[in-house]
Amino acid sequence: MSQQTPVQETTRYEAVIGLEVHVELSTHSKMFCGCRNVFGAEPNTLVCPICLGMPGTLPVINRRAVEFLCKTGLALGCTIASHSKFDRKNYFYPDMPKNYQISQYDMPLTTGGSVELPSGKVVRLNRIHLEEDTGKNIHAGGHMAASDYTLIDYNRAGVPLMEVVTEPDIASPEEAEAYLLQLKTVLLYLGVSDVKMHEGSLRCDANVSVRPAGSTTLGTKAEVKNMNSFRSVVRALQYEIARQEEAVRKGERIVQETRNWDETRGVTYSTRSKEQAHDYRYFPDPDLVPLTIDQTTVEHWRSEMPELPLAKRKRFVTAYELADHEAGLLTEDRVTADFYEAAVAASKEPKLVANWMLGDVRKFLEKHGLTLATSLLRPQQLAALIKSVTSGKISGKAAKEVCDILVAEGGDPQQIIEKRGLAQVSDESAIKQIVDDVLAQNADSVAAYKGGKVKVLEFLVGQVMKASRGKANIEIVRAILVERLG
């Protein structure tokens, strides 16, 4: 947007968003050395001369990281490069031990591909490349300029980092969130990353511009950084789009710049950082030999690919006759989807398993601060519990109680039912006896029913249930009552 003249109030604007997502790969060791790759260790304990950039050290490519990236590429329909290489990105920054980052410039490992959102929208990818992460600066005064000193933790330096770059295909903050969720789901399915935004294993920068709706030329973009959760991505994008729209309406010029998201103030602000003027002087890293990826290896990787979330979601809808949103929730991660399928296989009740998992199981997991992965509940137990209900062995209410215990402690549902005396009484002669007792004690109500007050039936059902201490099969109770009251 370079025009200086104010635009008409009535013009509608649309946003154009492209995302650059950095994902730390969960390989056993770092990208170019043997140091362990884990989060949360004591500062500077996961370091060696190589990742500290000591004189004379050399990098060696972690093949597993290449595999993780290429598998991500295969999952997203990218083209895997048969020839690739690593380049040096040169700039000075204290958290970068060599003052250059080994990255990929003009020959990324994959190009093309796309992420399909549940809405059906397709976000095209530009490329995915591999690089090394930097260390972490801890400024004594919050940020570097205002600090007396800065501490550097190099544990993260050299962690394999995959950068997934989209085309400017995203039209709204909500779509950006949907994209991130879908990408996260795919990465979790592949098991290539923990994808924990709060631990920094997924980081997102956004290129944002606005243009009059329907226009085909791109406006000047701003790069928004420092968004630390999916929610802050949405908020930052909403803010930035509104800011740009307002500026354009006023006839102001949008400057190409980097803007940081301030979570507390809820605004983006220009960083005017030194980084912006940088010429990174990329050149091929002479310490590494070019990578060649042969077709046999790619095919081998392809054969190891799991079923991907969207395919699974579609299969759940058709095979188990679930609603799309149910299938979506059940395929959010592999643990949930695998649990569901195992429980269905054991119970043959796809609909009921879905109801339980999305209802009570979820509720009790939350109550106990657990997840399906950490709870002792097993699919076979859930299946057995469901069978107890359908066979009339226990009431729905009692089943909830059993479910609560199963989620918290695990165990055999039959034993829990017996131990707690939750089994339902379905023996008609036993129930008839209770019904007759209740009718004898409630002659008034019987008279009222016969006089036309049918509502009294429910009162009598309640009395019978009470007398049976909740164990009588309520359907049988109702049937016998109706029969007796003639």
Binding site: G53, G56, L58, V60, P97, K98, R281, F283, P286
Partner: protein, 492 residues
């Protein structure tokens, strides 16, 4: 005459000499020559004596001995040695204690070698005279007013003086071969990828190679057998089997086709008739040994210098970025932010030549200039490689000048960087092509030693060393005279 490495090792194996005696002798001589030569940045008497006692214990208990058992050696201060200060000739690393050993250092010590000291060098291996060391220049044992060559000048000087039979150097554009020529010793630059670079402080990664600098060809062959081979820590080291280079040494040159480079002969004829005459005599000697001389061409070699001075500075500008005072080495504190600290540290820590090359390289890689400079240099490098392929279709080895002059006087070229760069005219093309090359003593010009360069196809060091050995055994140029330092050393 000084003892070679194989002579010392054999004497130790026969119990005529102990490793402790060998180490003491070398350390004492290094110490006594230091005022005249200043070949060392640091002597390592404790390390050498500890290793020597280990070797002697093995001899005593009849255990097997490594191929370099008890041989005192000197290592260029560009190689990390675990626990020892490693400076690369720079103030910026004057207090850097290496936390690990370079692969080659490890291999040498495993073979029984005794590292008696770290030798002087041009800062970060940038120079051809050893005058760019932050710790003062080294002198030539054959002319105490002359330079020893560079950048591996300290290793060349101490081996040339006969203090140790074997030195370890590095060669990026001639840094082993030129000083070897100046100091009357054998200096070998192996094929790029033949020897691990792990633990060797980088100057220009795509060119740097470690190699032996020795009193005779046999010691070079032995040392190369020890240090060569694939290293999982260096992806650019190549997994090609290491032959027994000693077994491949020969005494005649029957069936060997020796290429003589027409362009080089024209060049040396123009610049120095005495040098040209010496090389003509050397080629005749090769012929007498049975070699067939053939004319070959290296038409793009004349662009070697220009190409080299784009690629090497470009790589160095990035390789040397890590010296910022944040993690190790020298730090110059003061006011301002971390960038101010970086700037002060680098301004004070680097010498002029290093700064010159960082600036050159930064420029060559800049946006808008990359294609014109770095990109084009890489293309010419490919053409130079092809020149060698074409030449080696006609010959088995190439024989050519190592240098265009014998050692020059200290200070003669320090004010003229380009004149200094020209010292590597005959050695740079081989570095760019990645092929192996060595310098072997070939006689004297104006009473100063001069080396003959022998070049072979990639990974054909055995052929190259074989030819050099035959020539050495037939001529014995180095043994005909005595370095002046040993005369003045006796006097003092």
């Amino acid at each position: 005459m000084s003892k070679t490495g194989h002579e010392i090792r054999d004497a130790i194996a026969r119990k005529e000499l102990s490793a402790v005696e060998a180490a003491e002798t070398a350390l004492a001589q290094a110490q006594s020559f230091e005022p005249q030569l200043h070949a060392y940045i640091r002597l390592l008497p404790e390390r050498a004596m500890t290793k020597a006692r280990e070797v002697d214990a093995r001899v005593k208990s009849g255990q097997s001995l490594g191929p370099l058992a008890g041989v005192p050696i000197a290592v260029k201060d560009i190689f990390c040695v675990d626990g020892e200060i490693t400076t690369a000739g720079s103030k910026i690393l004057e207090n850097f204690r290496a936390p690990y050993s370079a692969t080659v250092v490890q291999k040498l010590e495993e073979a029984g070698a005794l590292i008696i000291g770290k030798t002087n060098m041009d800062e970060f291996a940038m120079g051809s005279s050893c005058e760019n060391s932050a710790f003062g220049p080294t002198h030539n044992p054959w002319d105490l007013e002359g330079v020893p060559g560079g950048s591996s000048g300290g290793s060349a000087s101490t081996v040339g003086a006969g203090t140790v039979p074997i030195g370890l150097g590095t060669d990026t554009g001639g840094s082993i071969r030129e000083p070897a020529s100046f100091c009357n010793i054998v200096g070998v630059k192996p094929t790029y990828g033949r020897v691990s670079r792990y633990g060797m402080i980088a100057f220009a990664s795509s060119l740097d190679q470690a190699g032996p600098m020795t009193l005779d060809v046999r010691d070079s062959a032995q040392t190369l057998s020890v240090i060569a081979g694939h290293d999982p820590m260096d992806s650019t080291s190549v997994n090609v089997p290491v032959p027994d280079y000693v077994a491949a040494l020969r005494t005649d040159l029957r069936d060997v086709r020796v290429g003589i480079v027409s362009e080089f002969e024209t060049e040396i004829g123009k610049t120095d008739p005495d040098m040209a005459a010496l090389y003509k005599a050397a080629y005749k000697d090769l012929e007498r040994l049975g070699a067939r001389l053939v004319d070959v061409h290296l038409p793009h070699a004349r662009y070697g210098l220009a190409t080299y001075y784009l690629i090497a500075p470009a790589e160095c500008s990035s390789n040397l970025a890590r010296y910022d005072g944040a993690r190790y080495g020298r730090r110059v504190s003061g006011d301002g932010d971390v960038y101010a600290m970086f700037e002060r540290t680098r301004a004070a820590g680097f010498g002029d030549e290093v700064k010159r090359r960082i600036i050159l390289g930064t420029y060559a890689l800049s946006a808008g200039y990359y294609d014109a400079y770095y990109g084009r240099a890489q293309k010419i490098r490919t053409l130079i490689k092809k020149d060698f392929d074409d030449a080696f279709a006609l010959c088995d080895v190439i024989a050519c000048p190592s240098v265009s002059t014998p050692a020059f006087e200290l200070g003669a070229k320090t004010q003229d960087p380009v004149a200094m760069y020209l010292m590597d005219y005959f050695t740079i093309p081989m570095s760019l092509a990645g092929v192996p090359a060595l310098s072997v003593p070939a006689g004297y010009v104006r009473d100063l030693p001069v080396g003959l360069q022998i070049v072979a196809r990639a990974f054909e060091e055995a052929q190259m060393l074989g030819v050099a050995h035959a020539y050495e055994q037939a001529t014995h140029h180095a043994n005909l005279r005595t370095p002046v330092v040993t005369l003045s050393g006796r006097a003092s």
